[in-house]
Symmetry: C2
Subunit: 227 residues, 2 copies
DNA sequence: ACCTGAACACCGTTCAAGT
DNA sequence: ACCTGAACACCGTTCAAGT
């Protein structure tokens, strides 16, 4: 169950011995995960990087799970640069791009989300804005919810399936695996090894798929309106 | 780097003391992951369930990673029921549905893929068949590779982001989180809480998104052919 | 040749003790 | 009141020893 972000004691000044706040600790944890993956965040290492005893962390957070909630909040600062302008499709595209970049900046969000749903108010802003745009574009409630789920699946799915390795490493690895296949059993993969290797890594592919997803949402809406 | 599925010794008969094969062990590991998640698979527990010593496993697999490769193969039996029939769009849809069901049957595949790319020949069959269908439909190499990546992202992303909890639990949790939001700040989410909760859980949503993805692929192909 | 217990360097968290 | 070392029940894997 999701735990509330309550402070252990409600005191304005840093009465604590180390002068640390929950937010500062969460930020340090976020940096650790972004740099080394979710497995890289251990209570021992986090405490070590802050120069405090491991058990001191449990004075700020009841468990590692509660710490992860704070990490999510730390990574979910509102997107200041987003302003709703232009046709609904372009508004959606821009919002999705901004949130995709956030996920690239903070792989921690993706890795945590793969373990459990993220339902913090700050994170739900993304859904609220998408629904607002679709509502204004004339989408019904069910239609809008379906489109939101698809868009959410695409942006998180893309980020989740993008490797932590460099683009170059990934392409080489894909190409190497294809090169090992018997061409007569895998003719198309063999013939298009280059194109497939390119498509499986790199951020330019994100935009291509996003446009296809929006094509699909738009097409269904057009049929709905027409029918 | 991906390790080869080589047997430690090439002997036809089960000369081994326990009479166990790599395949049998991999199958047991697959069952463990499917039932309890990737974290549920530990060398100690797997050995225990097989009634052998932990270290005996290392006589069959050089490392846990090599064991996971065998688990992937065990879960990737070819889809016997798939026959290419009808228009390309329906062929794609059916192939994707079959593979989605495979992922639902074997969450192990999704959980392993989130840790590293899956590049085993048996798994690459999926890509080969998609490329074959698209090629026959007149897609160019780059266009086909882009469509493959999108479809792959959708099917794995959808499976990866689907919770391990029951559909009912998930819906209740989503609805509860929305109910906690201040309605004046989240008006659309509040108004469509029901539709959103439904859309975020349950397999019927998979088909909706799949059709939108195929709409997008089809629309882009139509423009390509027309232009 | 095949199998395996003990040991090592890790985890998250409980508990009891320090200041 | 705040902090923390020791300890517990785990991990994957190395090593040396059993049959």
């Amino acid at each position: 169950m999701p735990s509330q972000p309550r402070t252990v004691k409600h005191q304005p000044g840093p009465r604590r011995r180390h002068g640390l706040t929950r937010e500062q600790i969460a930020k340090a944890a976020l940096d650790l995960i972004d740099a080394e993956g979710l497995d890289g965040l251990t209570m021992q290492r986090l405490a070590g990087s802050l120069g405090i005893g491991t058990m001191t962390l449990y004075g700020y957070f009841r468990s590692k799970d509660e710490l992860l909630d704070a990490v999510i909040d730390a990574a979910s600062e509102p997107e200041g640069s987003f302003t709703r302008q232009g046709p609904w499709r372009e508004q959606l595209a821009e919002l999705v791009r901004l949130n995709y970049r956030r996920l690239v900046r903070h792989p921690a969000l993706v890795q945590i989300r793969l373990r459990r749903p993220i339902l913090r108010p700050r994170s739900l802003r993304f859904g609220e804005t998408i629904l607002a745009i679709l509502h204004e574009a004339g989408f019904g409630a069910e239609e809008a919810a379906g489109a939101f789920r698809l868009i959410f699946t695409y942006v998180f799915g893309y980020a989740a399936l993008s490797p932590q390795q460099t683009v170059e490493e990934q392409r080489r690895e894909t190409a190497a695996a294809i090169a090992l296949l018997p061409p007569e059993q895998y003719p198309h993969l063999t013939d298009t090894a280059n194109e497939v290797s390119m498509a499986m890594a790199g951020e330019n592919q994100f935009e291509y798929g996003l446009q296809r997803v929006l094509d699909g949402v738009e097409a269904a809406h057009g049929r709905q309106v027409a029918g």
